[in-house]
């Protein structure tokens, strides 16, 4: 290219972001470093012991497994709920579709703390749902719903569903509507057209949305803390406890690195998948 702006020195363009980027890299390197230290603070040699400790520590291992199952559940439900909504948004150009779109965006703009609080009001022992269920005679006494795995899942779905819907809507919106019509003229019923045309063509959006939701869920901290109130330990809260309460920095750091590796592996697998889909 031969633009005048090519003259803008590369250093001017890159230095500001690089400073912040270096901080990130430093953070990662620091964690990696601590995780292979025999003890921290102090220097007593290097070891990979702490990675084994993670798998032998029931508390950490359970937190890790809980985190993965939480992320899986949240991702699947976001996908199942999000796809029909995205479908509706991608095809509809009506006033209603616009309002639904606004409704999907609204939670993004409202503070997560506010939303968590809303769920407390809805799901608490004195909450709306319990009042309704007792009132209708479905249950005789309020059910304890807060501080459970599923409450945390609901809170997370509420946070991540808009991301999923936006990702899917943009993919579905790019699919040429005449493809489904062409399939129909070739004798394909709508359900078949959906399975053979629309679904494969939206695979990329499904993958992107799922990976974003899954990764963000594995790192969540506030929601389990707030809706779980100490009852639902996920890896993030477990690591925090391991480090700041137990003072076991290396094992905490090793757990953090394991979480990071796992996420990276997932993202790598995803990009391979995308490339394979793209090659077709």
């Amino acid at each position: 290219m031969t633009t005048a702006t090519k003259d803008t020195p590369l250093s001017v363009l890159l230095i500001p972001a690089s400073v912040i980027g270096c901080l990130m890299v430093l953070s990662a390197v620091l964690m990696l470093g601590i995780s292979v230290l025999d003890s921290f603070p102090g220097w007593t040699g290097l070891t990979l012991e702490h990675y084994r400790d993670f798998f032998e520590n029931r508390f950490l291992l359970q937190a890790g497994l809980r985190t993965i199952s939480l992320a899986t559940v949240v991702t699947l439900i976001c996908l199942l709920l999000g796809y029909p909504v995205a479908w509706f948004l991608a095809l509809g150009r009506s006033k209603i579709a616009h309002l639904v779109f606004l409704a999907v965006l609204t939670p993004l703009i409202v503070s997560i703390v506010v939303r968590m609080f809303g769920w407390t009001i809805l799901l608490g022992n004195e909450g709306l749902l319990n009042k309704v269920m007792v009132g209708l005679g479905i249950v005789s006494a309020p059910v304890q719903m807060m501080r459970s795995f599923w409450t945390v899942a609901i809170g997370l779905i509420h946070i991540f569903l808009p991301f999923m819907i936006l990702s899917l809507t943009s993919t579905l919106g790019r699919i040429d509507p005449s493809l489904a019509e062409a399939a129909a003229t070739l004798g394909s019923r709508p359900v078949r057209s959906f399975l053979q045309i629309i679904l494969p063509l939206s695979a990329q959006g499904i993958a992107t949305g799922s990976i974003i939701v899954f990764c963000l869920t594995t790192g969540v901290y506030l929601t389990p803390l707030w809706l779980g109130r100490g009852n639902v330990t996920v890896l993030a809260t477990a690591i925090q406890q391991q480090i700041l309460e137990t003072g076991d920095w290396p094992t905490g750091a090793a757990s953090a690195m394991l979480l990071t590796f796992f996420t990276l592996l997932l993202v790598a697998g995803y990009s391979v998948l995308i490339r394979r889909l793209g090659r077709r």
């Binding site: 040429d176 005449s178 493809l179 019509e181 062409a182 399939a183 129909a184 003229t185 070739l186 004798g187 394909s188 019923r189 709508p190 078949r192 053979q196 045309i197 494969p200 063509l201 077709r280």
Partner: protein
Amino acid sequence: MLGQIAIAALSVHSVAKSLGGARVVKDVSLAIKPGEFISLLGPSGCGKTTLLRMIAGLEMPDSGTIALGDKDITTVPVWERNIGVVFQNYALFPHMTVAENIAFGLRTRKVSKTAIEAKVRDALKLVRLNDFGPRSTDKLSGGQKQRVALARALVTDPKLLLLDEPLGALDRKLREQMQVELKMLQREIGITTLMVTHDQEEALTLSDRIAVMSDGKILQDDSPKEIYERPRDAFVADFIGMSNLMKGRVAELDGKKRLAVSEKVILDLPSEVNSATDVSIFVRPEKLSLAEVPGAAGSSLPGRIVHVSYSGSVTHCFVDVGLQEPLTVLITNKSNHEDAGHRIGEPIWVHWDARNIVVL
């Protein structure tokens, strides 16, 4: 056999459709004989695609009926109609190979694997893409995509083929080549075809019959020759080919029918016209000629050349004869060494034969 009365392959009866509050197709009727190639010709936005989509079953008419052969298909869903459709943008499935695209319609019909293979091979041969089966569709050229779309639409042996601006996305040279191919293919398999186009040349070349559409209505439905030589109204005359349109009052003069376009311009008319009425007449540019001397009174007019447009085989001369618009005269460039010698500003006479004047 039913004797003389052949059942139309497709009959559209009084079909109307509103989209987004606007009446897009207004009371259209159309019949196509088996094996016929009909073009739906009109400016863009006149409702051609909407009519085609209703025939295909992609859009439901508000009123009227559509029949395929003797079967009313107005309410039959698209996927049960077996009408081949080639979409304007081809609508090839991007995640499937060429062969998979063509096989799609066969697979929905539960055709056996070996039969599918054979039919796909035949279809590829038909559109001269023999070895293209395993290719991905996104690397094909426009013309190749077009042929795959055609093969995909034809492979299920449909009773009717619908083409929506099939050659619109191709460049001129390729378009002309594909026109010939399309016509030969259509004649070879003898399929009844309805093509939508806004390109009058394409319609004239390909069709057995042309239905000219404007503003949701069919204005004239005739053979290409009739449409060109005997257009029924000013819109058809103006839309197809170039034309010189004039308005005036008919009067009798010396026992001959004359048209007074202005005080000075008085023309001979064909004798069958009623006198004392306001009429529009038109004459094609190639039916006019230029000369340096006047002809018989009433069949020539003096003027001045205002513009000359050379386009290879022919030249268009625009002559101001004192009317609102200059007359367009087409001259064939028969000689490559003699210059016809028409210059801008030059005084000239326009000649015509009254029999070539069409009264609308």
